[in-house]
């Protein structure tokens, strides 16, 4: 269980908006999971997660692809950059994909990776 706290910081808000908004990934309705209650929503409950297969390779590659679209939309909303300039974009996408791949991981887990890997404009 993570110690990361769900709150209205850039990472959590960006994660929620990109997952929820119709213009982005449109994974759930705001009425079903308002921001304050969204941290515990599991990846397996989101719209993208396949329900007819447990094939780990299929799930891994689909997670890679949605991680890329997730990052693209975060970059559309915020002028983010890498926290660690030496880390490759591939490694960051891989870290996001690891969350999307695991049906038990939560929106909070995803926000924690976003916060750890991306530097938002108001951060030093």
């Amino acid at each position: 269980m993570t110690d990361y706290a769900w709150r209205r910081n850039n990472a959590c808000v960006a994660t929620y908006r990109v997952l929820q908004e119709h213009a982005f990934l449109d994974q759930f309705d705001q009425a079903d999971h308002p921001f304050e209650d969204a941290s515990g929503v599991k990846m397996g409950d989101l719209l993208y997660f396949p329900r007819t297969t447990a094939n780990p390779d299929i799930i891994e590659l689909l997670a890679d692809q949605i991680a890329r679209r997730f990052l693209k939309f975060v970059m559309k909303i915020y002028a983010v950059d890498k926290q660690d300039a030496a880390e490759t974009s591939g490694a960051i996408i891989g870290a996001l994909a690891k969350i999307f791949e695991d049906k038990k991981k939560t929106i909070l887990d995803l926000a924690e990776v976003v916060d750890a890997k991306l530097r938002f404009p108001d951060e030093n």
Binding site: L47, L62, T88
Partner: protein, 276 residues
């Protein structure tokens, strides 16, 4: 040389060829990846005679690896992936090969890779294993290969498509239907091709939130006539699922899975629904 050995040697040549072609760009596996274990053991033969001395060994490591990750600024379209080649050699050698109940040595090579960009993602794996007894009187070559590809937003926004194809050896030891069809008590291993195709698309507006289609095919190559007559050489499973609001769904599945994939069945055959 049997056709199996020809295919296996062909795969080995392909693995070595892939290394040679790009050898200048490969990094040798790190020393930290290698593991070695050699230990003396006492072996109890099954003939009831006194225990005998032996040596159990297990060596494994990474022969080479290459990363494709692109450098530069934050880029959601950046190329990512890599390839690595690993090995493992293990077995038990006893003072008397004939009485050694663990009379099996094996050496395996595994090549795995992943490459992805915004255009799609591909993952592949190939393996080659040589098994032999201590005197190399009985030996066997086992090989397999697998490739998986996936992409989203192919036809519609946020849709997902994936394809998985594998060719591998199956150990049918517990396949009672196969034993009955062949009229034998013990079964030989055989080679089979597996295919899985998946398509999932969100649906805007209306009561249906998403539609998911899944098709699986399992086909045995060069199956004996008795297996074909019993229709055990080919298995298919088709599934369609409609996701509704509030995690409700309706699904229909038809076909059958082979004996070693029963646990992969994501839902019961026929209609499944969670309406209330």
């Amino acid at each position: 040389m049997t056709s199996d050995y020809k295919r296996g040697l062909g795969l080995a040549c392909a693995l070595v060829g892939a290394l040679a072609l790009s050898s200048s760009a490969w990094a040798a596996g790190a020393e930290g990846d290698a593991k070695q274990s050699v230990k003396p053991v006492l072996i109890q033969p099954q003939d009831g005679r006194p225990v005998m001395a032996g040596v159990k060994y297990d060596f494994s490591g990474k022969l080479a690896e290459r990363s494709f990750d692109a450098q530069g600024g934050l880029d959601p379209d950046a190329l990512r992936g890599g390839v690595d080649l690993t090995y493992r050699a293990r077995g038990t050698v006893a003072s008397s090969a004939e009485r050694n109940p663990e009379n099996l040595l094996d050496f395996a090579l595994d090549l795995k890779g992943l490459a992805s960009s915004s255009a799609g993602a591909v993952k592949f794996g190939a393996s080659l294993k040589y098994e032999a007894d201590q005197k190399f009187k009985n030996h066997n070559l086992v090989y397999g290969a697998k490739v998986t590809a996936a992409k989203n937003t192919l036809l519609f926004r946020n849709d997902q498509i994936a394809l998985d194809i594998a060719y591998s050896q199956v150990d049918p030891g517990k396949d009672d239907a196969r034993k009955k069809a062949l009229g034998v008590e013990t079964l030989d291993k055989y080679y089979r091709g597996d295919l899985e195709a998946l398509y999932r698309v969100p649906v805007a507006g209306g009561i249906i939130r998403a539609i998911e289609l899944n098709y699986r095919l399992y086909r045995e190559f060069d199956a004996p006539a008795a297996i074909k007559a019993a229709k055990l050489n080919k298995h298919e499973l088709s599934t369609i699922r409609l996701d509704l609001p509030k995690d409700f769904f309706v699904a229909y599945s038809t076909g059958k899975l082979p004996f070693d994939r029963k646990d992969d069945q994501a839902m019961a055959l026929g209609w499944s629904y969670k309406l209330f």
